[in-house]
Symmetry: C2
Subunit: 175 residues, 2 copies
């Protein structure tokens, strides 16, 4: 697949996963793709923890409580630090979002599927903080997202999107 095909083929997969391990080599490639993303003034605010230990996955899934996610043989947890990049501004949301997108593409390029779970774990239930505690993550890092990784057991479907002409134009707004 070309990169443009991979970008077009990526979709948020919320189904169950096959009981097939993801190799360390593949997990490293996925994380390398994430760390290759740009960051505001090169502050490198994003860190990653890949989890492939069955016992640890079980403990994390006791907090996450999503049946489909619990079938994934691996998971990548995304950590962020609020580091000032430019004057008084911090771009860590942009940084980890670019890193996540790179990882989602690397996941698909290697034959796996995933989904960006963020709002669910950074909400009032603070599931992300509970996951961080299980993983020994200190308080100056926030666990903002996890990506289940595995081979899809069900069809991958894409959501409906607005047509190109409603979201992109040349030389002016809605022109």
């Amino acid at each position: 697949m070309t990169i443009l095909e991979t970008i077009e083929n990526r979709a948020s997969y919320r189904g169950t996963f096959q009981n097939t391990a993801v190799s360390r080599k593949d997990l490293i490639k996925i994380m390398e793709a994430g760390l290759a993303a740009p960051s505001g003034c090169n502050t490198q605010t994003t860190s990653l923890i890949a989890v492939d230990d069955a016992g640890l996955l079980h403990r994390l899934n006791e907090e996450i409580k999503i049946d489909t996610v619990a079938t994934a043989p691996a998971m990548i947890c995304v950590l962020t630090q609020s580091i000032v990049a430019y004057r008084d501004r911090c771009f860590n949301i942009q940084d980890y979002s670019a890193a996540i997108e790179n990882m989602l593409l690397a996941v698909v390029a290697q034959g796996y599927q995933s989904c960006w779970y963020e709002g669910y774990i950074t909400d009032v239930d603070v599931i992300g903080r509970k996951m961080a505690d299980i993983l020994g993550v200190p308080d100056d890092y926030e666990l903002v997202c996890f990506l289940p990784v595995g081979i899809a057991e069900q069809p991958v479907t894409s959501p409906d999107k607005k047509p190109f002409a409603e979201r992109a134009w040349f030389n002016g707004f809605k022109t």
Copy 2:
């Protein structure tokens, strides 16, 4: 190039550009890549304006005031809307950041270079708002980023980054 090679080869290019037009076909592919990014609860908060009109580029560059950017034959402006996705939460920063990363990869995959200019135009000088006014963008959209697009005239260099082991681990923090 495979997607992983493209991800590793992408870098923020701040040099001058060759005086060679970027085809509409290529600009459309780049924007399609951006719009293919996921968005929180599929809110599709990101919109794009590609600029390849010389007069309009000149007017935008009078506000931007970066000599190297002024040599780019095209530019993509990134617009965002604050649309609630989940409970009272809005993920538009995440949405446009994933879209920008996809576009930066599509740029490199097609032989061009670019750079993510955001902090500079969303700061106290409100250059982004001035650019939005030139492009006829209404107040409920924010112009948060522009990407110059063109063929590099100078070498593309990557910044130093921390080693993998300082930013990524398995089954625990710094393990």
